[in-house]
Amino acid sequence: MPEDYLPILAMVVVVIGFAAAALVVSAITGPRKPNPAKLSPYESGMPPFGSARRRISIRYYLTAVLFILFDIEIVFFYPWAVLFRQLGLFGLIEMAIFVAILLVGYVYVWRKGGFDWD
């Protein structure tokens, strides 16, 4: 049964090989003549100004954590969905309780403005 997934492994190896080959070949065969203009960061042709370091909003963190929590909920849906008919009514009730508890959380975040950007 794990043999069925061998093509995925082959694809991963090929992809990594391709990316590595591209980097390695260009590093070996390309000419090496650095000058200050070429080494400066690319900003659509304009001379760069300002620093790259800026205060990142904590909104990103909040969004990422909420994504994790609801992602885990989604993962729990897969086995239930696959066995939907066998689990019958009781399965529906059990999953409904699961979703209801998380729905409370969802409504809470919504009303507290967790989904707004600012």
Binding site: F90, I93, E94, I101, V104, V107, Y108, R111, K112
Partner: protein, 489 residues
């Protein structure tokens, strides 16, 4: 699908889960309106949970494929959890009023924390133990770091979290080894495996996993050397949360430790008794000696809490389930935990009362307390007498049974060290009393007490005194609570 009996027996947990969500929803709908009503709703939830927990008395069954056990041992700890919940809720609302706008969430999270405690008391499978410990840990981290602007609260939460995450990982490794050897998550199967296989490699691995599990649980109970988070966390957390942390996780941590050691690992009794004896001595001694140098009342009570865990461990070490003697270690542990709950909650409530009025937590600020709040000063004396184990208090009864059990099992040196440590502890407890009674303070305005705090103090003090004068009902409670599923009496 769980049947009617199962649902009936897990009513306390269902109640608390529902109440937690209801509190959250009500807080969303009502927004800024009366938060006091929410506190009463929380207390109502705990009272209903307490009542439904008592319904399960006398049943002795394992539910959910042997994962969740409802026996009198579990119900005892559910009672402790509910009582701790009620008392802490009563004193927390005033404290939080000016410190955070998230008061409704605090009550909801606190309800879930008590739910986690109840689930820990009933867990009988490696998976459930880990899940419920993590549940309680998350709640504890959140509640500790609740005051977002307070740097000390942040520091307390970070230290608690980092320490907890590492010991959790260690404990999980130990649990996975137990699973690997026995092939099952169930305590009964694990015991059977160790009864059947007694070769040296198995013993080595089992001992390593026992040590790791003790490490993980020792973190929750604040045993040495897993105690280092306790002083900073107790000092930085909001004081009601500190009160909760000092009794809640400790009590159910002991419950889980007892269950794991007595139900899953009885084959290695000699080894874990030896290990726990050493830990007990270290814990008592370090806790008491460092407490002597503390100037902050919360830190002092933190080290005192660490030392108390050492005393309770003496009872665990002397456990002897053969024959029905009042000096079996298990009896001592239960009585001690019951006494300790009220004593420590009472002591912290006094600290909260003073902190609400004056914002002070240093011993120096307690000078002249007897003139400003004589009621609290008197109660401090009672609670500290109880913590030190001096009659006529509940703490004395607890220590009596724990040391008595140690003597009965032949642990004379251990009992002696315990008594010496109790004597040492008198010194630092009475540094606070001396400041309150015999030294003059700068401020002399009287301190007023809110009714919920007064009620909570009266209940705690009454129980501490009643337990010493009329201990029989509590003895019976402890004796009945010794029924642990899967352990032959």
């Amino acid at each position: 699908m769980p049947d009617a009996t199962t649902l009936y027996l897990i009513l306390p947990e269902i109640t608390l889960a529902v109440f937690g969500m209801v509190i959250l929803a009500v807080d969303l709908i009502w927004r800024e309106r009366s938060r006091a009503a929410l506190a009463w709703l929380t207390v109502l939830g705990f009272v209903i949970a307490l009542a439904t927990a008592l319904l399960g008395w006398g049943w002795n069954m394992a539910l959910f494929a042997q994962m969740y056990v409802v026996d009198t041992f579990a119900i005892f700890f559910k009672l402790l959890a509910a009582i701790a919940g009620i008392l802490v809720t009563l004193v927390s609302l005033d404290y939080l009023r000016d410190r955070t706008p998230y008061r409704g969430e605090f009550l909801a999270l606190f309800t879930f924390a008590v739910l986690a405690m109840m689930m820990m008391a009933s867990s009988a499978s490696l998976l459930m133990i880990y899940l419920s410990i993590e549940f309680l840990s998350y709640m504890s981290y959140l509640l500790t770091g609740f005051l977002r602007e307070d740097k000390k609260s942040n520091e307390a939460a970070i230290k608690y979290f980092l320490y907890g995450a590492i010991t959790s990982a260690l404990m999980l490794y130990g649990l996975s080894l137990l699973y690997g050897i026995s092939g099952s998550l169930n305590f009964a199967d694990i015991t059977a495996t160790f009864a059947a296989r007694n070769d040296v490699p198995t013993r080595i691995v089992a001992l390593v996993s026992t040590a790791l599990v003790i490490a993980g649980l020792g973190f929750k109970i604040s045993l040495v050397p897993f105690h280092q988070w306790a002083p900073d966390t107790y000092e930085g957390a909001p004081t009601p949360v500190t009160a909760f942390l000092s009794v809640g996780p400790k009590a159910v941590g002991f419950a889980v430790l007892l269950r794991v050691l007595l139900t899953a690992l009885p084959a290695f009794k000699n080894e874990w008794i030896a290990l726990l004896t050493v830990i007990s001595v270290l814990t008592m001694t370090l806790g008491n000696l460092v407490a002597l140098r503390q100037k902050n009342v919360k830190r002092l009570l933190a080290y005192s809490s660490i030392a108390q865990a050492g005393y309770i461990l003496i009872g665990l070490v002397s456990v002897n389930l053969n024959g029905a003697s009042p000096f079996s270690g298990l009896n001592g542990v239960l009585i001690y935990l019951f006494a300790y709950l009220f004593t420590n909650l009472g002591a912290f409530t006094c600290v909260i009362a003073i902190e609400n009025a004056t914002g002070a937590v240093e011993i120096d600020d307690y000078k002249g307390l007897v003139k400003r709040a004589p009621f609290i000063a008197a109660l401090f004396v009672i609670f500290f007498l109880s913590l030190a184990g001096i009659p006529p208090t509940a703490g004395f009864i607890g220590k009596f049974f724990v040391f008595g059990a140690a003597l009965r099992e032949g642990f004379l040196v251990l009992a002696a060290i315990g008594v010496i440590n109790s004597v040492i502890s008198v010194f630092y407890y009475f540094s606070v009393v001396r400041a309150a009674f015999f030294e003059a303070g700068k401020d002399t305005a009287p301190i007023r007490l809110a009714p919920p705090i007064t009620f909570s103090l009266v209940v705690s003090a009454a129980l501490v005194l009643v337990m010493a004068v009329y201990p029989e009902p509590f003895f019976n409670l402890a004796a009945w609570s010794m029924g642990m599923f899967g352990v032959a009496k």
